[in-house]
Every structure is written in C-alpha cells, then in structure tokens.
C-alpha cells in the first residue's frame, strides 16, 4: 500500500512537470498551428543551459539557472518557429510536412547537443531538501517545489488567458487568425509573444524534468515527448485546460503503473492511452480545436 502511495506521489511530481510541458506545447500549437516535435529537444537544450549556469559556481542555485533556461527556451522556440516553421507554412506546406520538419529539428538539436556534450549523462548540483510526509505521501522538498511551481504556472496561465488583453488576443489568434487581424490585432506580434511564452514554459519544464530525472542526456526527453503528446491529445490539442487534465492523468498513470508492471514498461500505458484517444476522440476530450 505504501508503495502505491509513494507511486502516486511520484505521479504527482511527474504530472507537474508534464503539465508545464504539455500546456506550453498545447498553447504553442493553438497559436502557431505546428505540432512541434522539436519541443522535446528544446526542453533538453534548456536543461543543458541550466546545467552550465548551475556549474558556474558552488553558490549558483538550480532555481536561478532555471530562469536562464527559460530565456533560452523562449528564444530557441521563437527562432525555430520564425525561421523554420513559419516560412514553410507561408509556402503552403501541409501540416504533416511541418511535423516532419519538426522531427528533423528534434534530431538536429539533439545531435548538436550530443556532438558538444558527448553521450554521457549530467546531474545538477543541488540539495533535495528535507523529506516531508503528509497523507501517506512521501515527497522531498524539491519535489514539493516542482509541484508548487507547476500549480503557480497553471494558475498564472489561467489568469493570463482569461483576464488579460494579451491572453484574450492569443486565444482569438488561435481561434481564427484572419478574424483576429480583422479586429486590428497584429497577429504576427501575438505569435511572437506566444512563442516566447510557451518557449519559456518549455525551458522550465526541461529543467524540472532534468531535476526530477536526477541525471539526463541529449535524448532523455524522447519518451517524455510521447507523454506530452498523450497529455495534449487527451485534452484536445490547443486546449490548455485539457492539457493540464491530460498531464495529471498521464503522469499519475505512468508512475502508478510502474508498481504493477516492470518499471521499464511504465511508459506503455501512456502510449496506449494516446492510441485509444486518437482512435476514439481524435480532437481530444475537450474537443474544440482552439484555446477555449
């Protein structure tokens, strides 16, 4: 029983990392119309940058390094969208073509990291904090911090999308870019800002992912990318609230299943869920196709 509860705790932490990643992915898709598979590699690139900042000196906290990773994730996401995806889109390339391009970007970024860093794994220098127990869950201070961070980002994003002019403009642009322009919204600026915002979420999720994993390498996020896709499609692509719910379901199921099946196969349930969702509700549970 305690093993089960412990796995629920791990599941909540995984779900928290996944929620940050999936929400960024989903909003980015909503605004740019790109299923950006390179997202996983931008996560890892950001995690690497956090590592280098973390290693600058003994006093450099990983949480400070995470801010730098967020900036890198934001800039890298913007550059990829503006100079790779958007030009292909303007030439009328079909969405499936762009997916292939993004897969190419994923491999280019991962192998670039591997070329620079080698195939070895890295770990951050950090304290795990005190171990805390409540309601049968056992979590480290760092794990609790990740959960807290994720909740803060989810609430923050909710407030941004619902109550700010920019957030509504982002939803309007995601819903109908032409109509948004008819309203006088400069959609190219909205897309730029949305790429920076979701790229920052990508960078932060990459760093929290690496923290949670303990040690990471250039291709560590590949399986996680499938979990992100599962969470995003479970909630409906472009639906941030759907992605949050999807992340919770996929994250907890993945970790809890490690109790019942060999841990090596713990990702399989997420893949199965993704396949079932694609078969039954290809547009997701929330089913609207735009940021609602």
């Amino acid at each position: 029983m305690s093993l089960f509860l412990a796995s629920v705790g791990f599941g909540l932490v995984t779900a928290s990392v996944l929620a940050i990643a999936a929400v960024g992915f989903s909003v980015q898709f909503g605004v740019t119309d790109v299923i950006n598979l390179a997202y996983g590699s931008v996560m890892i690139a950001s995690a690497y940058v956090a590592y280098f900042v973390n290693q600058l000196g003994p006093g450099v906290s990983i949480w400070l390094a995470m801010l730098v990773a967020a900036v890198l994730g934001a800039l890298l996401s913007l550059v990829i969208n503006k100079y790779v995806y958007a030009p292909f889109q303007r030439r009328g390339m079909a969405p499936i073509g762009i997916v292939i391009v993004s897969l190419g970007m994923l491999l280019i970024i991962e192998y670039t990291i591997q070329a620079v860093q080698g195939t070895g794994n890295l770990s951050y220098t950090m304290s795990q904090g005190p171990t805390l127990t409540f309601a049968g869950l056992i979590l480290s201070g760092v794990q609790l911090a990740i959960i807290g961070l994720s909740v803060v980002f989810m609430v923050g994003l909710h407030l941004l999308l619902r109550y700010t002019r920019f957030g509504k403009a982002m939803r309007a642009t995601a819903a109908d870019r032409t109509l948004a322009r008819n309203c006088g919204i400069r959609t190219d600026r909205v897309v730029t800002l949305a790429c920076l915002l979701t790229g920052a979420l990508c960078g932060i999720s990459g760093t929290t992912f690496a923290i949670n994993l303990g040690s990471f390498g250039a291709t560590s996020a590949d399986l996680f990318l499938v979990m992100i896709l599962a969470a995003v499609f479970l909630g409906g692509p472009g639906q941030p609230y759907g992605a949050m719910l999807g992340a919770l379901v996929i994250g907890v199921i993945t970790e809890v299943s490690a109790v019942f099946i060999t841990a090596d196969y713990k990702y399989v349930p997420a893949f199965v869920i993704l396949l079932v969702i694609l078969a039954v509700r290809p547009r997701g549970i929330f089913n609207a196709g735009a940021i609602g």
């Binding site: 309007a172 309203c183 609602g292």
Partner: protein, 257 residues
C-alpha cells in the same frame, strides 16, 4: 484609361476600386472591376455563386491579394493593405463564415472587436453595442460557438461596431439564415449600421431583399461588373430581371469564391 481620368471617377468616394483584379495564386477571380461607395451610402453587390463577390470584398480589406488596379479608402490608395491596417483605418469587415471567435464568450468577442480602443473605453463601447443589439446582453458569458445563426451574425456585426467604423463591409450577412431572419438582418440591422452615418458595402445572394435597402447596386458575373444602377433602374432593366428576379438563365460561374 489614364490614371487621371480614373482618379476623377473616385473623387469623394469613401471606398472605391479602380480596374481591380484580384484572386488566388496569381489567377484573377475579380477582373478589372471599378466600384465606388460614397460616404453614408448603402451599396450592394449581387450576383450568382462564384461571380467573385466575396473575393472583391476580401481584396478590398487585404485578405486576398490584389493583382491589378487600385483600392482607395477616403481618397488614399491602400491597395494590398493588411486587414489590421483596414480595421485601424475605420473599415469594419464581417466575413460570411468564421465571423466570430467560437471558443470566446460573447463579451470576449466584443472586447476583441474593441482591441484597438484604449482599455478604459471598452466597457462604454460594449454598452453602446448592447443598446444597438439588446438581445446580446442576455448572452454575454455564452460561448460564441453556441449561438444560433442569427445571434451569431448579430454578434459579428456588434464586434465590428465596437470600433465605430466609417465603412461596413459585409459578406452575405444572411447566408445560412432562415428567410424571416434574413429579412430582419437586412432591414433592421443593416439599417442600424447605416444609421450611424457610415457607408455600407454589402454582398448578397438575396438580390430582391437587398435591393430594398440599397442606394445603388452592382451586378457581378464571371468576376466582372455586368450592370450598375439604383434599385429602380435595375428592376426596370430586362437583363437584371431575367437573371435575378425569376429568370432561370445564370451566367457561367468559373471559380469559387
């Protein structure tokens, strides 16, 4: 035709085109079309499906590329301007389909309509729009995607009304509406828009109904203007009567719009 003579024909017009050609992938759908809408005028464009009416409007507001000729707004050449520039300049465009942000609430749609306004002016403008379309005030928190066809069109018009445009460009506002509702949209709503003193350029398939509210009408077929005149003149014209008011013969429709 020299540019000078062409210029004289559009002097004083709110919105005008000169020998406009426009279309997709370099293929013109609209060909050498010259129209004008004077300040405060309600001008309609009628014609069969595929005659290029929607393409004309999209070229006017910068959604479809102009391939030749000019677009003029209040005496200034604005050919191939962007849709957001058109909104900024005072032209409010209501597309035929995709005319509201379906996932956003009615209130949020109106807020997006007023995106260019200073934030503190938005609530006052919303109140004004709700005065014009009082039915909308009961459904402010409803998602636009859940509205009925008539409510949706009202919201689409309310959305452009937020910026108090000096010209309304409306693409088949009665498409997909039941006949009674279509008449209400044309007779009440369009009249309300023009009562603001703005010019109205409206594309319609319901030729007879739109004639009743128009000051002037252009008849398009095959991407060109075939006839032009006041409603009385057109109704008296045998060509027009044959084509639109009961005649079975329809001009060829080369491309979709």
């Amino acid at each position: 035709m020299s540019a000078e003579i062409a210029g004289a024909q559009v002097r004083g017009a709110a919105l005008a085109t000169e020998l406009l050609s426009a279309g997709y992938q370099g293929r013109p759908v609209v060909q050498e079309l010259s129209i004008r809408v004077d300040p405060g005028e309600v001008v309609s464009v009628v014609g069969p499906n595929g005659s290029g009416k929607s393409t004309l409007l999209k070229a006017l507001i910068g959604v479809v590329q102009v391939l030749g000729g000019r677009v003029l707004w209040e005496g200034r050449e604005v050919t191939n301007w962007s849709p957001d520039a058109a909104a900024r300049a005072g032209v409010g465009y209501v597309p035929q389909v995709d005319d509201v942000f379906a996932p956003l609430t009615v209130k949020e749609n109106l807020e997006m309509g007023g995106y260019l306004l200073p934030v503190r002016e938005v609530p006052g403008r919303i109140t004004h729009v709700l005065d014009v379309f009082p039915q909308l005030s009961r459904m402010l928190s409803r998602r636009a995607g859940r509205l009925s066809g008539g409510e949706r069109k009202m919201l689409a018009m309310g959305r452009v009304l937020m910026l108090q445009p000096r010209a309304f460009v409306l693409d088949e506002p009665t498409a997909n509406l039941a006949p009674a509702l279509a008449n209400m949209v044309l007779e009440d709503h369009i009249r309300q828009l023009s009562a603001t003193g703005a010019s109205v350029l409206i594309v319609e398939q319901r030729a007879r109904a739109v004639l009743a509210i128009s000051d002037r009408t252009y008849v398009m077929a095959g991407g060109r203007c075939q006839l032009e005149g006041t409603p009385a003149e057109l109704i008296a014209s045998p060509d027009f009567a044959e084509t639109f008011l009961g005649g079975a013969r329809r001009p060829a429709a080369p491309t979709g719009d």
